[in-house]
Assembly symmetry: C2
Homo-oligomer: 352 residues x 2
């Protein structure tokens, strides 16, 4: 007979971290009993076993306790953290969903099990489609879509454009570099370790790459890698790298601003400012921030294109999988070091 009550481990916010990387002082794991019996599940709700949870930089900005540059609402104290995830329906009180369905949700609790309104589910995933489930959180998910919006929509990548990608070996960066190559750009990446430099050149097809932790003068570095200037900079990190880029932009360069991870652990008044924004005038640069949520009308186009690339082997993907829900705090912290390759995901329960 099916289990009717589970102990579900979940992460909740014990305290805000105004600065620095959140630790287990701020994020705490607790175990809560959850009834899965059909009559305890409200109408139009489903009980879900979490399979994969996406670990993303923006989550950190929801734990600072202050209005922040990304403006996502702060998590409430003592409430469970939510994240993008893939889960399996265990019980359903909605005729559109059946036991065994694999579903995607942008706001799953970071937990082993949950009961959620079926209206929050984004869609069902066909597990027989030949695409590994975590890929729906990576190349086919938010980071892949962010890369696509950045490179193809706002970056207007064209053959011969000189493209620069920061955080080039991460979830967004690995896809962005490959998309820019597919569009015919010359692509250079920056990342935080020599191993990642090798990876993006060998596996993701970057024309060249450098380890920013080893460069003392970004300005000189960019002179070396961009003798003909920068046409597209996909901004993922902010601060000193952006400043260096602004000294090397070509006329009419595009800077899609996807994120600025170097700023997420700092209060804004403590951040290092960018001093050479005047170059935006002289070089007529378009710098444009974006959130993928505003481009959902293009998500179907993106999906068709990206599934095609994945099936044809034109885009390769790397996913760093952390095992078990208990790894959440560690995996989140890892985003602020250079310890991982590719997209960071937690495998909460093994898919059957």
């Amino acid at each position: 007979m099916a289990v009717n009550v589970v102990e579900s481990k979940e992460w909740y916010l014990a305290g805000y971290a105004a600065e620095g990387v959140p630790t287990t002082d701020h994020l705490t794991l607790r175990s809560v009993p959850l009834s899965l019996s059909l009559d305890s599940i409200p109408d139009a709700h489903v009980a879900v076993q979490l399979l994969f949870i996406s670990v993303d930089p923006y989550l950190r900005t929801r734990m600072s306790g202050q209005e922040d540059g990304l403006y996502f609402p702060q998590f409430s104290l003592n409430q469970v953290i939510t994240a993008f995830g893939v889960g399996r329906v265990m019980r359903s009180k909605d005729e559109k969903y059946s036991e065994g369905d694999i579903v995607l949700n942008a706001f799953f609790p970071v937990a082993e099990y949950c009961v959620v309104p079926s209206s929050v589910l984004i869609r069902k995933i066909d597990p027989e489609a030949g695409i590994p489930l975590p890929e729906y959180l990576s190349c086919l998910g938010v980071p892949g879509f962010a890369a696509w919006v950045g490179i193809e929509v706002l970056g207007e990548a064209k053959p011969g454009s000189n493209a620069f990608i920061s955080a080039a070996a991460g979830g967004v960066g690995m896809v962005a570099g490959q998309l820019a190559k597919l569009k015919g750009c010359r692509v250079i990446g920056s990342t935080g370790s020599d191993a990642k430099v090798r990876l993006i050149k060998e596996e993701f097809g970057y024309d060249d790459a450098f380890n920013y932790n080893k460069e003392v003068d970004f300005d000189a570095t960019l002179s070396k890698y961009f003798p003909n200037g920068i046409d597209i900079y996909l901004e993922n990190v902010g601060s000193k790298m952006l400043e260096a880029v602004l000294n090397h932009v070509n006329p009419h360069a595009r800077i899609p601003v996807c994120g600025m991870i170097s700023q997420y652990n700092q209060i804004w008044t403590e951040r290092e400012g960018v001093r050479n924004l005047l170059n935006i005038v002289g070089k007529e640069v378009r710098m444009e921030g974006f959130l993928v949520g505003s481009y959902l009308d293009r998500f179907a186009d993106f999906t068709v294109e990206m599934e095609g690339y994945l099936k044809q082997g034109k885009i390769s993907s790397k996913i760093k999988i952390y095992e078990g829900i208990q790894s959440f705090a560690e995996s989140l912290g890892s985003l602020f070091s250079s310890s991982n390759f590719g997209k960071v995901v937690i495998e909460v329960n093994k898919p059957r």
Copy 2:
């Protein structure tokens, strides 16, 4: 009989000013004899008596001796300064121009008289059109066109938009505020004196305005003037004002970057940086630099619209006229204080 040799006073660059406002240490007036006899004028050239010279902030950035954020070429040492101007043809070796024609040129020497290739002349002006000649350097010239590109093209001004204009009482600012009002925006300006605050409210129709020299906390100031946030910021000044604006932008705000005059007297590494660019992501801001020269395909549209406004009295204009070529250094310096209203122009010779 017509004069065949004139003594022409002209300004040349005696030394670069890396920092600070250029003075007569850097800019020097000299008198040179100029032959106006027809046989001394090369074919396809005209001799011109300068009438009005436009005094613009970008000129200062051509006197720093270093590659700069506006990227206009540096003036050469000992060479005459050039500027936008209106002149009268005195002798012509081009059948398209006759004595007495009033002509416009973006690169007239800052001098009393000159001989220039007729190919550099932008166009003839009809002095009977009922528009005062200096207006071709103001509302109908570069500042007016910059305001139009900023507000109508890049700013996408719409009824109800909350628009903020810095350097609001200057050549660009006075036009920008009025254009934004004509588009139905709520318009607030910042400027450097109480008299200018009064002027832009009373004469240019700004809904409200403040004297930034009296405000200690721009963030609080903008909270007061923009309870509903900022949709359009026409950036003319940079630095602390931009930083404050970025804390008040609405989602999808536009920041056309016309200039950053607070930065023109500083080496870039000495400038105060902007620390909260991360807001560009969360608010999906589009910040776009522009130079009017890249929008010349729209100049005819602009001219029709602006001439209409001027004739219908829908746009009013203020021009600060300095008398005589000897006032160039002083008038240029005045751009970096709050001493003038409206567009700064030198009357070199009285139009007949």
